[in-house]
Symmetry: C2
Subunit: 203 residues, 2 copies
DNA sequence: ATGATTTAGGACTGATTGGTCCATAAATAG
DNA sequence: CTATTTATGGACCAATCAGTCCTAAATCAT
């Protein structure tokens, strides 16, 4: 590519903006107008660079997933213990929720969970993207759970895979509770129960 | 109302059809055309009887919630034990999921959970309807949990309210997992873990 | 029968949807 | 300075959206 007028925007920057937009308002409720505005792009640039709304959305899913996995890996590496890492993550999840004092507004939740709920049943290509995304996230949690267990504490009744599924289920459930408006103080005991269950022998 | 041309359709029947439609495809993705077709109504009849799409949706939420609570109460009354009732319910939730043999298609999930995920953040009136709906459902689960515990088995570390929140969180999470395409055999251990946690002292 | 009253059907509306197309601008290669 | 290539802006498009309105049909009261 030696010819032609140079692109006036940064692709990653635009992708980041699009991801934020889709993350905030979902797929259907995000109009092209919304995207153009938040990405600061002209319509032709968007279509030329990203194909169409659907393709852009899938790229955003990949971008989000990669960013999230990288972030989680860093947090896991820097955490005092992997149990603390898991607890902190759960606490982050419910920290979006209504506080008794302040009702801060927007709860974006997790882009992957949101998309699973909005689109997975009626769009197979998006369902695939969500599946690979959650699988990659699950890998991090799997390591955290494995590392968190001391050898003598392994409970053979439950495989690590089952515990990972349990954790992801709990996270997804918490996300929904937060969106439904449940207060943080109600969800705190829930994450205690989840942590207790993850490390069964260590009560 | 003694005058006038008689209504040619049954209101409850139309409401039932609308509920099924909204339940299947959500609020935004359900067009008025879809509604008219599944309700077998003319546009004027719908607007005259139900006001508009938004009002109709809220009526559907109420209808669904009432139906669900009634159904749960009957099941709880007829079940061998309330623990069995809870287990059966969780098993119902994941029975919608992909079976290893057959990939049966549509997973409607729970109308209230779906709506919480789709609309609760940007529509306060719908958020209220969801809140009262889940509160009513929670009451049934609360009774089930209380009845399921024999007096000597009460664990004072967790209030019944916390256990109810935990249960609803788990149910919501399972709904998302099912929608995301997780296989049933992966979710079975998860509900075992949830049941174990609900009845902590009885392992 | 006739007038009152309500329902039903469907034409119509303005706004918005995602997407296309074309003329113009901006850069490089020769 | 010209030809080539790509990017941009915006006019334009058909389809669809929720919602309105008017006419015709159907029933009841008199």
């Amino acid at each position: 590519m030696t010819y032609g007028r140079p692109r006036e925007f940064d692709i990653d920057c635009a992708l980041e903006a699009a991801t934020q937009q889709f993350w905030s308002t979902g797929y259907e409720a995000t109009s092209l107008q919304d995207l153009l505005q938040s990405m600061s792009l002209s319509k032709s640039s968007l279509y030329q660079t990203f194909g169409n709304k659907h393709e852009l959305f899938i790229r955003c899913l990949g971008y989000y997933q990669q960013t999230m996995v990288d972030e989680l890996n860093i947090k896991l590496a820097n955490s005092i213990s992997s149990r603390q890492f898991l607890y902190d993550f759960l606490d982050d999840v419910i920290s979006e929720s209504k506080n008794s004092s302040s009702n801060n507004g927007i709860k974006k939740g997790c882009f992957l969970v949101n998309t699973a709920n909005e689109l997975c049943q009626r769009d197979t290509s998006i369902a695939e993207a969500v599946a690979t995304g959650t699988a990659n996230v699950a890998k991090v949690f799997r390591r955290a759970i494995e590392q968190g267990k001391k050898p003598q504490e392994i409970d053979t009744r439950w495989t690590t895979d089952s515990l990972v599924d349990y954790l992801i289920t709990s996270i997804s459930g918490l996300r929904t509770m937060v969106k439904a408006g449940t207060e943080k103080k109600s969800l705190k005991p829930v994450i205690d129960l989840v942590m207790m269950t993850l490390f069964i022998n260590e009560r």
